[in-house]
Symmetry: C2
Subunit: 423 residues, 2 copies
Amino acid sequence: MWEASLYTKIAVSFVLCLLCSLPGQAQGVLSDPGFKLAEDFVGKDHDRFIREIIQITETPAPPFKEEKRARLFADLLKQSGLSDVEIDAEGNVIGLRKGTRNGPMIAIAAHLDTVFPEGTNVKVRRQGTRLFAPGVGDDSRALAVLLEIVRAMDAAKIQTASDILFVGNVGEEGEGDLRGMKYLFQKGPYKDRIKMFISLDPFGWGNDVTVGGIGSKRFKVVFRGPGGHSFGNFGLVSPAYALGDAIQKLSRMQVPSRPKTTFNVGVIGGGTSVNSIPFEAWMDVDIRSEMKEDLDKSVDTFIRLMHEAADEENRVRTTSQGRIDVEVKLIGDRPFGQVAMNSPIVQTAGAVIQSFGLNPNYGMSSTDSNIPLSMGIPAITLESGGTGGRNHTLDEWIDVEKTPSVRGIEIAMGILMSLAGMN
Amino acid sequence: MWEASLYTKIAVSFVLCLLCSLPGQAQGVLSDPGFKLAEDFVGKDHDRFIREIIQITETPAPPFKEEKRARLFADLLKQSGLSDVEIDAEGNVIGLRKGTRNGPMIAIAAHLDTVFPEGTNVKVRRQGTRLFAPGVGDDSRALAVLLEIVRAMDAAKIQTASDILFVGNVGEEGEGDLRGMKYLFQKGPYKDRIKMFISLDPFGWGNDVTVGGIGSKRFKVVFRGPGGHSFGNFGLVSPAYALGDAIQKLSRMQVPSRPKTTFNVGVIGGGTSVNSIPFEAWMDVDIRSEMKEDLDKSVDTFIRLMHEAADEENRVRTTSQGRIDVEVKLIGDRPFGQVAMNSPIVQTAGAVIQSFGLNPNYGMSSTDSNIPLSMGIPAITLESGGTGGRNHTLDEWIDVEKTPSVRGIEIAMGILMSLAGMN
């Protein structure tokens, strides 16, 4: 769920990075013959990589229903060479690749879940180097990158100092509320052991580095009223009109463009039949900001608007059978967090990206990294390579043209190897 | 789906009826010893009648899913004494009680369907003489009245001149769009043979007589847009905001109170996840009027408002990824129709109601009778007796206190016998 073309640049970070030198470890890894072998393997294996993207994409993974894709991904991880693979109690696929020198454990993850409900047509349509399907880039491509990295490391017989935990996690999107990450870091078998974290999410050249977790709050707003007959009870207050008014008020809410602050009405529902005044109408709302203060301010305004909408409906129509009530329930809360720009994980990522001839672009977003970041664990979110667009829509697509596609995989692999320490 | 407490009185009709004398046939029937025997039976059988209301109510019958209740009702009709019972191709239960002298066939119907979706709790809660459950009055009570009339006629060995067709029909509510009636009168085995029609819908003392079918049009309004990511694509046009604006505009639409004209947003939906800008948001709208001219005028205004909402959303937010389109699709069209006040069916109904010491109250509504009325077949809609309230809501209730409950059954039976001609 990376933030596409409107990705927020942190100007100061870019300047910092122009000054930073390529850390020695990264330089060493990228020129290592073993790493070169792994890069060669990725290039030659690209057709299989594309087939796996398609296979993963065509295995549906709606929110809270990721099991089928989890089982597939666990099998593919094993086929790619990992022997120690399991599905944890929350539904995350976790596979350990042991290191040789007890370096700090690094986890690298891509998320299994999509935003699309059960029944969505997830058949991939291919047109030249373009693949079209809901979820193909967000985050199927990244899952396939994890498989590719495992195979390339094995093919090149790479051994690392650190243990690497490969993760296909649940609950990144929507109401999943980062449940996969919360379990991994707070309850799962590797909690307290993961010392660095990389999330791949989603497609993109590979030079965007998310170094901060944007805070978000999600709400379910439910308007309730007496309901009634469309003709016989015409004139009674209606939760549908309260909802309409609430949406309209929210759509006009003023938010700052810097720090970027946003709102969204994501899902709407209510009512039982065309000829009944509904007794309930509801919506799910997402509010985000780069700054806690602005998030809190927008949330306050939003809650006030919801109550105003209920009050107004009670004013303009009859309450003889009952009033409109509104409930604003918090259904998601993604914590803020930031990793220091001079930390090894950010410095290493920047150095590797530069060595591939690209300029690192640091920003903030709301991703799986929010959880480790909020716990003080160094974490970044990287792109998975290639190009694409329209994620979170039925028109989602990626381009798997070989050069930018392979380069993205190599960048992710280079950052991971540099952090894990090659023997 | 009778129009509850806001039932429209046609003042002139009431005056007309004060002047009308009790037609001879009705007088004869009501004083017939056979009819008295049938009345006695209804009084003694009232506990079984209540048990059947509960049994019917607790058998769910969501729109387009009336099969289970249909099978139950067919069985109960047979147990009540009708041998010739079938379920037609549309799902209506039809049971014929043959007459002896080839009088004009009369059909009397109650509808099987409720407005409540699958999964609604339909367990009946009893509190003294009150029964609480969705659908208990609309139209379960009326279905039980049909059973009671069949049994009472048999118990009193009543033979009629006319064939009587007892009907438990589908598709009265919501998007059912009167499909049960359309089939019965235009395609089914008794089409062209039914010469008079009585609909029982729903509870009420028994003195309301619907003599005209209110026209209604139902629409599905769908707003479509490009969709996108809630944060990354913030600022794009959203079908959710267009819908909110459309609902708000509609909620302020001016309609005349006389002829009574109404609108309703009945069902709302759209969106796939809280953190995605929806690509679709929709609502089902019901518009009705006692006069065709006012219905047409309101429909025109409504359609204009929908397009204005789409245009406005395209104006205030970014259309770089695509515009908001709106589709306004007609999903229901209930024809107007009226039976003459001096027709035998209306005169007889009025006379019987008066003979029970009540003042007939003539009005218009949108019921199953709309179909025969639109075809020129004399039809009325009657109440099924007792009292109640809150139909089309989860708080629906009826009171089965014996006196008004039994009287309602007797009124319906008296009108039916008077029209069918007792031997």
